[in-house]
Amino acid sequence: MLSPYKVLDLSNERGQLAGQILGDLGADVVLVEPPGGSSSRRYGPYAGQVPDLEGSLFFWALNRNKRSITLNLETAEGVDLLKRLAAEADFLFESFDPGYLDSLGIGYQALRDVNPQLIVASVSPFGQTGPKANWPASDLTALASSVALMLTGDDDRPPVRLAVPQSFFHASGDAAAGALIAHFARLQDGEGQHVDASAQASSMMATQSFVLSPAWGDIPLSRTSGGVKLGPILLRFVHEAADGYVSVTFLFGTALGPFTQRLMDQMFEEGFVDEATRSKNWLNYVDLLLSGQEPIPELLRCVDAIGAWCKAHTKQELFQLSLQKQLLIVPVATTEEVVHSPQLEAREFWQDVTHHGPERTVKYAGPFAKFSESPISFRLPPPHIGEHNDEVYGALGLDETMRQGLFAEGVI
């Protein structure tokens, strides 16, 4: 879909997902790594569990459908070469600390002078400008600034993140979206622009608009294990089944209440709740709780009953019931269960990608969507460091002698 377009990806671990999204969509993406390799290659886990710059699974997960060149941007020749590459590119992604590329003379304005059509998309913790733009930051601190962290975890322990860092992925997704939106502006008048994605602003999406609660005058939300507390109302979804964990979406209101009604009917049939419990007004239950007509301990008793019912069944029994009776119950899947999911298998989701040198086949999570006319293909494995120096610099008109000279000088 994007096959006519060239992308330069200067990103590190913070932004490499964005370039991969364009690569999946067919663009020709060249990852520009410092000599010695991208810092993202130093993030685990590693293939064979042995740290190795060519074996970082974190790197592999973000860099398929890309070619790799090395380039030392902290040299005059490196800057010159980057400008020559940028002159022919349609998109450039970067995720350095704000101001770093400017300090090298290749910030947005300088790149615009070289190529006014170029779209530059930046990923950073807080955005390119502003009082926190230059704050030292990491995934965890950016997530902390977004409120998403505050809403997750057990109420007797600190807020907690996911084991796979997420905040820069949110920003990278938005950088890719922003770059394509900017492309439609460029189609009108041929001009590029600078897209500024922020891990803070992007991760705020993961609060379900509860960041607006104070401004709207509604009760605050707080964290609880496997669910959330809305003011005094505890909503716990995660319960222990006989052989692991399941999630039971136990919510109320005109849209979600009917699911809870069916859940209670099922539990009644199996003797886990009495007639009075299953006949509660689940459509109006939040208002009953907030007005005090329904005491909070009654809600907690229902949550406990759900827990007891789950414990009496296996994950699969509960999931099959959910499919048959339109309940909102799913297993808390492990990566092992995800990889062996019958649903994903039937959809031929997993993709075998052949890596070279050493040759091996690696199973990857598949395309993010299925396109009927122009399907996504995983045509390139994640590259070795500088694997494509010869072809990329060759195409730029550097012959072998010149390339060897640049190598000797530490530029590539």
Binding site: M1, P4, Y43, G44, P45, L57, W60, A61, L62, G127, D139, L140, S146, L149, D154, V160, F169, D174, A175, A176, A177, L180, I181, H183, F184, L187, Q193, S198, S202, M204, M205, A206, Q208, S209, F210, L212, S213, A215, D218, F237, S247, G253, A255, L256, V286, L328, V330, A333, E336, Q343, L344, V362, K363, A365, F368, A369, K370, F371, S372, S374
Partner: protein, 404 residues
């Protein structure tokens, strides 16, 4: 002057709840024309979800709904009423893009699946977004992002190793899938621009979200290792955690990724000896002794407010940030600088706060904030102005119950 980037792109939007409307909101923010079809007999679930204006529930009072739908045109159409057919036909012909997030078969039952729409509009792009994709043994699972998050594998990875899974918060896949929906639609529009071909896009929210779990999935497919929740620890760095501060439920996140940052942390917290302490002097030592280090660092933070801890550490060059709650954001100087929050209004709500676009585009910013629509607010405008129905025809549509 350059027009808004997506001006002239017509989107017929049957999406509802979160993952769908959050995606089409991006298109609306940058100039596409969105017609949201909504039925009074089956209102959008988002209208039943918090936060509510002044804490009072009601279909026109949801902040979630407003945040995801401001700027869109709202057509109240009972799609199951046969009399609605001519309206649907003209909408399909009008559209460049049709989006829907019903469970599979929803569109087919309305006679509106891709094949049917393609007959009316051969170049149309249609995107279906549902929990599990449009085919497969579990495709019919009715579902919300709370479930997608668990099916996709996020829950197992959120929380403490000695306890049950704690998260992720809410309908997590609904917060990821929209970004992929947007890029999928824009790429398909670009492809159609060059080739004239429309297409059908089947986006499983669970599959799209797995792009955010790549390293953990590879750890299993390559190493056979089943990753699990690990608190706030990192495989790469220590300290890496959330530490208690003075005050109720007040916390600060602190991370050291480099030797310089750790040396600065040691100095800033009055523990210069840490830099030479054999337990902490090396990167590997800090990883091996992370629990001890966390406890010592926690003692330091516990005697300070989160503001004190944050400002001391930032001044020293150490990554740190208070764990913000929603009530902190109105005064977050960075969000104020970025103009992240804006105001929209409508007759039912008066003026309310919403979030603006999450990105900033230097040359073509988000279009000016428009009102957040009430149900059916734009029915007349869409039917008459955009689709060319006469006044008499509209009266008939209303009488037949097609227009609500």
């Amino acid at each position: 002057m350059t027009e808004a980037p997506l001006k002239g792109i017509h989107v017929l939007d049957f999406m509802w709840v979160m993952a769908g409307p959050a995606a089409t909101q991006y298109l609306s923010q940058y100039g596409a024309t969105l017609v949201r079809v909504e039925s009074a007999s089956r209102i959008d679930t988002a209208r039943t979800l918090q936060p509510f204006k002044d804490g009072q529930s009601g279909p026109e009072r949801s902040g979630l709904y407003a945040n995801l739908n401001y700027g869109k045109l709202n057509l109240a159409l009972n799609v199951t009423n046969p009399a609605a057919r001519p309206v649907l036909d003209r909408l399909v012909r009008w559209a460049d893009v049709i989006t829907e997030s019903f469970s599979p078969k929803g569109m087919a039952s309305m006679g509106m699946d891709y094949e049917a729409c393609k007959k009316l509009n051969p170049g149309v792009i249609m995107l279906s977004s549902c929990l599990n994709g449009h085919y497969g043994p579990e495709a019919q699972l009715a579902g919300f992002g709370t479930m997608g998050a668990q099916l996709a594998g996020f829950g197992e990875l959120a929380g403490w190793p000695d306890r049950a899974p704690a998260g992720p918060f809410g309908a997590y896949t609904d917060y990821i899938a929209p970004k992929f929906t947007v890029v999928a639609l824009l790429a398909a529009l670009e492809y159609r621009r060059r080739t004239g071909k429309g297409q059908y896009i089947d986006l499983s929210q669970a599959e799209a979200s797995q792009q955010f779990l790549g390293p953990a999935l590879l750890d299993y497919t390559v190493n056979g290792v089943v990753d699990s929740r690990a608190g706030n620890t990192s495989q790469e760095f220590a300290p890496h955690g959330v530490y208690p501060c003075r005050g109720e439920d007040d916390w600060v996140a602190i991370v050291c990724e480099t030797e310089d940052q750790f040396a600065a942390l040691a100095t800033a917290t009055g523990n210069a000896a840490w830099a030479t302490d054999p337990r902490f002097a090396t990167h590997d030592g800090r990883l091996a002794n992370r629990d001890t280090l966390d406890a010592l660092l926690g003692e330091w933070t516990a005697t300070r407010t989160r503001d004190e801890a944050e400002s001391l550490l930032i001044a020293a060059g150490v990554p740190a940030h208070r764990v913000s709650g929603a009530s902190d954001l109105a005064t977050d100087p960075q969000l104020m600088h970025r103009g992240h929050f804006g105001k929209v209004s409508n007759a039912e709500l008066g003026e309310v706060t919403v979030e603006t676009s999450r990105m900033r585009l230097s040359r073509t910013p988000q279009v000016p904030l428009a009102s957040t629509p009430t149900l059916g607010e734009h029915s007349q405008e869409v039917l008459s102005g955009m689709l060319g129905f006469s006044e008499d025809e509209i009266v008939e549509l209303v009488a037949a119950g097609a227009i609500e």
